[in-house]
């Protein structure tokens, strides 16, 4: 078979089968078309305005690296007039984060962007390694997710940046749509499909860290094309998944998305479209405030649930625990029809057991009155206030992060002795950590 020419320029040999629509393109045309589509997304959604300072949530992974590269290119090509900087969060996971941060540091040099690295250690006094040592692998993603959400906002506000962009791609969004259908979490489905999300500002205070805008310029870009782009542009990125978090629901949804893509390449985009349309049908939905999340894009997160998964998830056991919870609810509704059932634990997933039609037992839980009255806890944005402890936007008196921290700190031995030798990080804190770790280990 003779080599086919590029479908766009008709001159060069086609070397790339475009994952999105299976068109045959040459390398140059692919790169142009990929960049142009991101530009289109940016313009069509009016993501940026001239002079805006944008922090790119950079993890060193393919998505955020491509995002940084494309934004730099487009900013120059179309003269957006943006001030682009990199913001990385160091969760403190040895063997995962410290390596990828090296990548981010190189990226900062390569793209000539200012880089800020903000650690959980610095923000919360706990690295993820320490959290895991304390709470075990089960449920640690909850901590990581809650901490990370605030971390990006705090980092942004520290840098006086009002807008953080993250590398979430179309696959991530599609995955989240299916995952939230499987988990029965419509409010989150609704929030995570929007391209711009922002924490509503609770005060006019400009130094507040709560009204940071988030957007995902790669929302419609296929993961496979991101990889191709990174490959053909010889981008320097780091590819390892977080060592702590295999997530059952997301894993299941991810596998499904990959299979769908194989059967019909447009399916990823079609799921995203479905998600956008469904978001409009979610009762009580309004402007979202979470980001879509993915375990492979640590630079952003869900509102509460770790890397996008339900709270209390553990490796593989998540589906089982949701199943158990749902079954309890079902059993309850079977055995005492028409009575009120209080959900155990009040956790985010598996709580929607209000029947959707009148034919079923009108099972009602706190806040759920059948179809119309279905108002999940998380949608209670009207009561947004501030955390009494840290001032972060929260619907509770004390925000989630502070609650988690309190639990962690309670168990941490008081430790005032400081030894005067250096570990590898140049801070005294890290020594404190070492000590804490040993004492925790001794527990």
């Amino acid at each position: 078979m003779p080599p086919s020419p590029c479908a766009l320029c008709k001159v060069n040999r086609a070397l790339i089968l475009r994952p999105k629509d299976h068109s045959k393109l040459c390398k140059t045309c692919f790169i142009t078309v990929f960049e142009t589509e991101i530009h289109h997304t940016i313009i069509a959604n009016a993501l940026f305005h001239r002079g805006e300072k944008i922090a790119i949530g950079a993890s060193g992974g393919k998505d955020s690296t491509v995002l940084a590269s494309v934004l730099k290119t487009l900013n120059e090509r179309y003269d957006y007039g943006l001030d682009l900087i990199l913001l990385s969060i160091d969760e403190g996971i040895k063997g995962y984060r410290d390596d990828s941060l090296e990548t981010v540091k190189r990226n900062a040099e390569q793209y000539g962007m200012e880089l800020t690295i903000l650690g959980y250690e610095e923000l919360y006094g706990w690295t993820m390694d320490q959290v895991v040592a304390q709470v075990g692998k089960k449920g640690n993603c909850t901590y990581c997710g809650v901490f990370r959400r605030q971390a990006l906002d705090r980092g942004a506000s520290r840098l006086e940046v009002k807008h953080v962009v993250t590398g979430h791609n179309a696959d991530d969004v599609a995955e989240t749509v299916l995952m939230n259908l499987l988990r029965g979490d419509l409010p989150r489905l609704s929030r995570t499909t929007s391209i711009i999300t922002s924490t509503p500002s609770a005060s006019a205070n400009p130094s507040s860290n709560t009204n940071i805008k988030r957007s995902k310029p790669l929302k419609y870009a296929y993961e496979k094309e991101i990889v191709l782009y990174a490959h053909h542009k010889n981008l320097d990125y780091f590819s390892t998944e977080c060592i702590y978090s295999p997530e059952a629901f997301r894993g299941s949804a991810r596998a499904l998305i990959k299979n769908l893509e194989r059967v019909r390449p447009s399916a990823i985009l079609d799921v995203v479209r479905s998600g956008e349309d469904m978001a409009k049908l979610v009762p009580g939905s309004d402007e979202g405030c979470g980001g879509v999340c993915s375990s492979s894009v640590p630079a952003a997160e869900e509102e509460e649930g770790g890397c996008g998964s339900a709270q209390g998830r553990s490796s593989g056991g998540e589906m089982a625990s949701v199943e158990a919870q749902l079954r309890q609810n079902d059993a309850a509704s079977e055995h005492n029809l028409e009575t009120e059932i209080t959900t155990a634990g009040g956790n985010g997933s598996g709580k929607q057991h209000g029947r959707h039609d009148s034919g079923a037992a009108p099972l009602s839980t706190a806040g759920k009155k059948g179809k119309k009255g279905f108002t999940p806890r998380k949608a209670n944005k009207q009561v947004m206030g501030r955390c009494k402890k840290c001032g972060y936007l929260s619907s509770q008196d004390v925000c989630k992060a502070c609650v988690l921290l309190e639990g962690l700190n309670k168990a941490r031995p008081k430790n005032s002795i400081e030894v005067a030798y250096e570990v590898q990080d140049v801070s005294v804190n890290s020594i404190k950590d070492e000590l804490k770790k040993t004492s925790i280990g001794a527990d």
Binding site: A170, L256, D330
Partner: protein, 384 residues
């Protein structure tokens, strides 16, 4: 493992009647043969509260349509409804409704529909039976002009007979997913039309929980998230016809167990097109999105049956947008398209900057999902 059909629960007594030995474990409850049958019946009949015997005049009895595919679910539904009506009659001398059964012959004629239908009639002689070829959809639907516009007729040939046009339409579809999707859509339209013509007020579909969950995710994957509220809910649909899913609380595996445990006569009526189809290799070009979801939920229901039902419940919580009643409808699936956003262009994920958006959409107006199935090129050619 709870909820499995392993008869491993031997020697354990039935949790309900406490008398008999259990034969299988249903959602962590060991049940005996009779209690399991009652379990399935109750789940189904509970859904039919609105169809109780009413003592209206005999000639005002309500008619319902039961589409029969000869699969496990619709056959079981017919069996249970037949029992139900017999019970009603023995108790009150009347029945709450009259059943019309319709079976649609698929164009490939992979099933001996007429023979199967005849056999079914012999077993359940009290009901009305009919079978129609799928291409009747072009004959029966009054505004068939828009259906006939889906793809242009081949050059040189005009006024194709309905059967020929259907064959031509299916031939022009480029993927297995598209063919399955269009066939299913046309089948639904034909069934609705038949229900209307026979004065039926409702269609009782056989879909199990598992099937409804499959449908939820499959339609999402096909870009029909906008019409999900009508895909799985009981009640009035945009067709102006009531849809009910009496088996919505029964899992597919429970229906299979029900059939397996029933007397041979019932099992012999079941013709699952090909039980191995869902195991088809993933590399196959013939895999459809529906197959994929079927496979997926068959595995999920094995260990996580409540997650399957939760998907269906979740989809049921989506609310129909208030404005949609006045909206324009898709020419193929007939679902209201909010704001008349036909086609696959003109949204965030469409990166082709308004290239010929108008002209490319052609004359018939298709929703996003149907536009994905009907090939653009041939419609464009027709658009002029």
């Amino acid at each position: 493992m709870p909820g499995k059909h392993v008869a491993g629960a031997t020697a354990e007594p039935c949790r309900r009647c406490k008398d008999n030995i259990s034969v299988l474990v249903v959602r962590s409850e060991p049940l005996c043969h009779d209690c399991f049958a009652r379990y399935v019946h109750t789940k189904c009949i509970k859904r039919l509260e609105t169809f109780r015997v009413n003592f209206a005049a005999e000639d005002q009895r309500r008619r319902i349509l039961l589409p029969l595919s000869f699969g496990v679910a619709s056959t079981t539904l017919l069996h249970i409804l037949d029992l139900h009506l017999k019970t009603q009659r023995s108790k009150t001398g009347r029945t709450g409704f009259v059943i019309h059964v319709i079976s649609i012959q698929d164009p490939e004629e992979s099933l001996p529909t007429d023979r199967l239908l005849e056999k079914t009639r012999e077993n359940y002689p009290d009901h009305q039976y009919a079978s129609l070829p799928l291409h009747d959809v072009f004959r029966l639907i009054p505004d068939d002009a828009s259906l006939r516009d889906l793809v242009p007729e081949p050059t040189g040939k005009q006024n194709l007979a309905p059967g020929e046009y259907l064959a031509h339409l299916i031939d022009s579809l480029t993927s297995a997913t598209a063919r399955a999707d269009v066939l299913t859509t046309l089948r639904t339209r034909l069934i609705v039309e038949h229900a209307r013509l026979n004065g039926c007020e409702s269609i009782l579909w056989g879909d199990s929980t598992t099937r409804l969950a499959e449908k939820t995710l499959a339609e999402t994957a096909k870009g029909r998230g906008f019409s999900l509220p009508w895909q799985t809910a009981d009640g009035l649909t945009p067709f102006g016809m009531n849809f009910h899913y009496p088996l919505r609380d029964v899992l597919k595996k429970e229906l299979v167990a029900y059939i397996n445990m029933s007397e041979n006569k019932l099992a012999s009526l079941v013709h699952e097109s090909s039980p191995g189809a869902t195991q088809a290799s993933m590399s196959s070009k013939n895999t459809t999105i529906d197959d994929l979801m079927k496979q997926y939920f068959e595995s999920v229901e094995e260990n996580f049956p409540s997650i399957v039902s939760n998907v269906v419940r979740t989809a049921g919580k989506l609310e129909i947008a208030a404005s949609t009643t006045s909206d324009l409808h898709c020419s193929l699936c007939s679902m209201p398209v909010p704001g008349g956003r036909f086609g696959i262009h003109g949204w965030g994920g469409d990166q082709q900057d308004g290239i010929d958006v108008q002209s490319a959409e052609g004359s018939s107006r298709l929703c996003y999902g149907c536009t994905r199935s009907i090939p653009q090129a041939s419609r464009k050619a027709n658009g002029t």
